[in-house]
Amino acid sequence: MKVEYPVANREKLCVILEGDLCADSLGNIWDDVVKKIDSLKPALLVVDAVKIKYCDGAGVSFLLDLKRRQAQHNGNCEIESLSKEYRNLMALIGDVNDVSLRQDTVKAGFCRQLISDIGMFTHSQWRDLIEQLVFLGKFCVTFAKLIRRPLSSIRWKTVFFLAERSGADAVGITCLLGFLIGLILAFQAAIPMMRFGAQVYVANLVAVTLFRELGPLITALVLASRSGSAFAAEIGTMKVNEELDAMNTMGIDPVSFLVVPRVLAAVLVIPLLTAFNILMGIIGAWVVMISLGFTTLTYVNQIKDAVNITDLSGGFMKTFVFGCLIACIGCLRGLQTTGGASAVGEAATRSVVSSIIAVVIVDGIFAVLFYYTGF
């Protein structure tokens, strides 16, 4: 593809095009000719097309663009000797002179934009809160209805299947995390404790932290990121595929069909996972204690002194609430999905973010409650 300009002044610009006019060959030439037109703004543009061997859709677009640019500064454009076939193509697409290709965005002033953004954000948060409350209410009502006939109305097969997927399949990762956290916690604590000669109390520290705080919290994070997001993505995909609409028209309530089994499964497995997590954390800390020169017996005795049944039950009590929250939020985000593939991804992300925030807030509330009740 070649281009020549035999005449180039403000009155007239001649462009001779030679070769194939297609997307491959136009790469540099398009820009070249356009720059020439923009700098000269000629009154008349003559395109000599006699040597064009082949022209496709991209080539036609190029010729139309030249016409458009001439029209923009009120110049004329003549395309000479273009074969009839390609003239027909140009006619098929028609003029593009008045086309604006950029999206017109209405630009508001900065302050106005800021205020409107804050308003929109607050409004969406408020609506989200309401939706969460409505969902919680719906879930409670449905659950209360189902629990009256637990054997026949709750789909236990699904519950156990989901429990396996979000519980049994997560044992490995929970144990690994527990072990590492116990190990790291004990190791980090041992260094400053050494200064006071209080290394033996590392066992107390690790045990109390794991039983009351870290065990339930870490397990909740694992559940939120593993299962909560999976619930959201699964239900979100069903929503996008109109499966939820199908369910509704069949008279099946999505909350009892999808949400209740998931919540039950999560509530069922999270205490067990927490138990694994704490146990492995204790083992991790034991490795550190042994390497510091303490005996297993000392370690076990220290733990027995440090924690009692209230620490254990307090920790486990929290996990039930965490499990319920994570599953509910996952399902809710799934049900809120609108639109296509990206919306499903967004639902999964939102479920993890909301669950983690909710879990931490509830953990804080529990801390305050335990303090005042002396639990």
Binding site: D24, A58, V96, L101
Partner: protein
């Protein structure tokens, strides 16, 4: 027919899955500028054949040559060169949901050409104008109707001015008006741009409107049982099943 050059040659193709052969020993050629339709009752392997033609599935045996090159054995630059020559419209449109229609049409150009950005915008505009969607340039796929999605997908398939366009059920599930619009579009594109169309469909209406030639696959014999102009196949093909298909009769009715 012989005077024209074959753009797709299918030679003794066997396709399907390793444990389930759907068709075997299929041979046919598709010629330049033809509107070619692949027909058959549901489950006879039309969509599988299409996947073999566009190189998404490896043949069990035999070969598919596009413009003289085997899609399966072509690698690297050769394969990309070959892919440039074809455009595909999938059944549901398969537009990228996170991009506007304009961006969807621009994408192949961004990947394959070094055109300036404004040029790509303009080409995308002309392609969308060809399918009548120029006023939806900045819409997201989720904001337009099913028929529009199919037309936008055709615009995307047109982006690089391909030699061949494959359409998977272009008019299925559309109202008669929109369906006939798409048929008109196919005819117009084939006439003015000389594009070869390969269409999988079982909408009789549109077959008679657009098709120059049709082949019919058969699930029982696993081969092509008919090849020719659809009107000829309807009126005077020797196989009763083929005539039945075109005359919309089930076997029970004729017996």
């Amino acid at each position: 027919m012989d005077r024209k050059s074959a753009v797709i040659q299918v030679q003794k193709l066997a396709g399907g899955y390793a444990d389930k052969v759907i068709f075997e020993k299929i041979s046919f050629s598709i010629y330049k500028g033809e509107v070619f339709v692949i027909l058959g009752v549901s489950g006879c392997g039309k969509s599988t054949l299409l996947k073999h033609l566009i190189g998404l599935k490896k043949p069990l045996s035999g070969s598919v040559l596009i413009d003289g090159v085997d899609m399966v054995t072509a690698y690297g630059a050769d394969r990309l060169k070959l892919l440039r020559k074809i455009g595909v419209m999938y059944q549901s449109g398969a537009l990228f949901g996170s991009m506007t229609l304009c961006e969807n049409v621009r994408l192949p150009m961004e990947e394959f050409t070094d055109l300036p950005s404004y040029a790509m915008d303009l080409i995308a505009y002309t392609k969308l104008k060809l399918v009548g969607l120029e006023s939806y340039l900045h819409f997201m796929p989720s904001e337009i109707s099913g028929g529009m999605k199919k037309r936008a997908a055709i615009a995307r398939a047109l982006a690089l001015d391909p030699l061949i366009i494959f359409l998977d059920e272009p008019t299925a599930g559309l109202d008669p008006v929109t369906a006939s619009e798409i048929d008109t579009l196919i005819l117009r594109l084939s006439k003015s741009f000389g594009i070869t169309f390969v269409i999988v469909t079982h909408e009789l209406e549109s077959i008679f409107t657009v098709a120059d030639r049709a082949i019919m696959l058969d699930a029982k014999t696993k081969t092509v049982i008919a090849d020719g102009n659809p009107k000829y196949l309807r009126d005077s093909h020797e196989n009763q099943d083929v005539r039945n298909f075109f005359n919309r009769r089930s076997q029970e009715k004729t017996n």
